[in-house]
């Protein structure tokens, strides 16, 4: 370890309350961002991790380009890390046979964290592959065919958002199914300019007056469907986030989390919470974490949430 700072990774398991998972995630970010040197994450006594936590680790570690080293990873946890590809996301581009890698997941409950370049020209066929694999993974579960359509809609719109607005170089996507609550945990992230940054880059500067430096307010705008897309050649809508969260929360009874820059939002059927995070907790991009319960009421239709 040398002179590197050692940070104990908090314990989270599949039964952890979401609030505890989020605190663990923010604690790790806070402690890591304080350091100016390489850090060591110590996984002593950890055997399992919540899907949101492993998804976050995969994206965060990749963005930190080897500045985070892992120690005391148990065999059990390393197996999970290997499956989720926490330490090396699957690269989706023409140089790598990612199809062959993803094909090995057809009988699994996980789609590993995949990293795609924004200019990747076969992004549609990549998304189709993810949908095909997920369809096989959940075919024996208690679900309706509309669930896959909902997943397709979520994936399509959020990846499109990354392509159109994030100015990112890379996007990330991964899923994990948890038997214990019969839910799919989805992570879609980018390393772009954040939602606040997207509003601030609006050509006429209209949003600077409305939002100022309040990043949580920018997230609130995005959930209302207030668009960053009002450009002459674009549709004047911002439906990617607002309609997806309605589908997830109101349609499926799930949870929608979003971390962007220095702000965070959590929406479920109880409340919506917009948080300006303490200084130092910052994600240079946008990360969306979604819990989608598979069991739906009989009348769920994704088309009810599309406008």
């Amino acid at each position: 370890m040398g002179g590197n700072i050692c940070i104990p990774v908090p314990n989270t398991c599949k039964e952890s309350r979401l609030e505890d998972v989020l605190m663990a995630l923010f604690f790790l970010m806070d402690e890591t961002e304080r350091q100016e040197c390489k850090v060591v994450w110590d996984y002593q006594n950890i055997r399992y991790m919540h899907p949101f936590f492993t998804s976050f680790l995969a994206v965060y570690k990749d963005a930190r380009h080897g500045l985070v080293e892992d120690v005391n990873v148990s065999e059990e946890l390393q197996n999970l890390f290997n499956l989720v590809r926490v330490q090396a996301p699957v690269l989706v581009d023409n140089r790598v046979n990612f199809r062959q890698i993803l094909d090995t997941y057809r009988n699994n409950a996980i789609i590993p964290m995949c990293k795609f370049a924004l200019g990747y020209e076969r992004i549609d066929s990549f998304q189709t592959l993810l949908q095909t694999i997920l369809r096989e993974q959940i075919k024996d579960k208690d679900h309706e065919s509309e669930f896959i359509t909902g997943f397709s809609y979520l994936l399509g719109e959020l990846i499109c958002n990354i392509q159109e607005h994030s100015c990112a170089s890379y996007g990330y996507v991964g899923t994990q199914y948890l038997e214990s609550d019969n839910s799919l945990y989805v992570c879609i992230a980018d390393n772009g300019i954040t939602i606040h940054g997207s509003y601030m880059s609006f050509p006429k500067g209209e949003y600077i007056r409305l939002i100022g430096n309040d990043e949580a307010e920018a997230l609130r705008f995005s959930t209302k469907g207030i668009s960053t897309k009002n450009l002459p050649d674009n549709e004047s809508r911002g439906y990617g986030i607002s309609t997806n969260l309605r589908m997830v929360v109101d349609g499926l009874g799930g949870t929608f989390l979003l971390l962007s820059g220095n702000a965070f939002l959590k929406i479920d059927n109880q409340q919506e919470q917009f948080v300006n995070l303490p200084k130092g907790i910052n994600w240079d991009g946008t990360m969306i974490l979604v819990r989608m319960p598979l069991k739906q009421s009989g009348d769920f239709s994704v088309y009810a949430y599309i406008e």
Binding site: R220, R246, Q271
Partner: protein, 112 residues
């Protein structure tokens, strides 16, 4: 008269706006229809772009659509005409500014 077969250009699922924009390389004033046979799913963004194409080339029609593809285009088309609806949920909504981790812990534990 010219027909464009979408499946031959983009495969069976057309999802990204960037992909469908390439259709402008193939559509011109001679094009009378876009044949959607074999298309299993289109995203909302793609439906919106297809509406842009049919708006621009107003003699152009979309043919041989599966029900769910037709439904997506119909919803998006109606939405474009209806104008922008800003959405507001009925659930409790709060904004919190946290200056330290203790503030954050309290905020995340809030049960209203």
């Amino acid at each position: 008269m010219k027909t464009i077969k979408l499946k031959e250009l983009f495969g069976t699922e057309v999802l990204s706006r960037a992909s469908i924009r390439r259709i402008y390389d193939f559509v011109d004033d001679e094009t009378t229809s876009i044949d959607m046979s074999g298309i299993q799913f289109i995203s909302r963004s793609v439906a919106d772009e297809l509406c842009n194409v049919t708006d621009e080339f107003n003699k152009l029609i979309l043919t041989n659509m599966l029900d769910k593809v037709s439904k997506m285009i119909s919803i998006v088309s109606k939405g474009r005409k209806a104008g922008h609806q800003f959405y507001s949920r009925n659930s409790l909504s709060i904004t919190v500014t946290c200056s330290n981790m203790e503030d954050l812990r309290k905020a995340l534990s809030l049960e209203l």
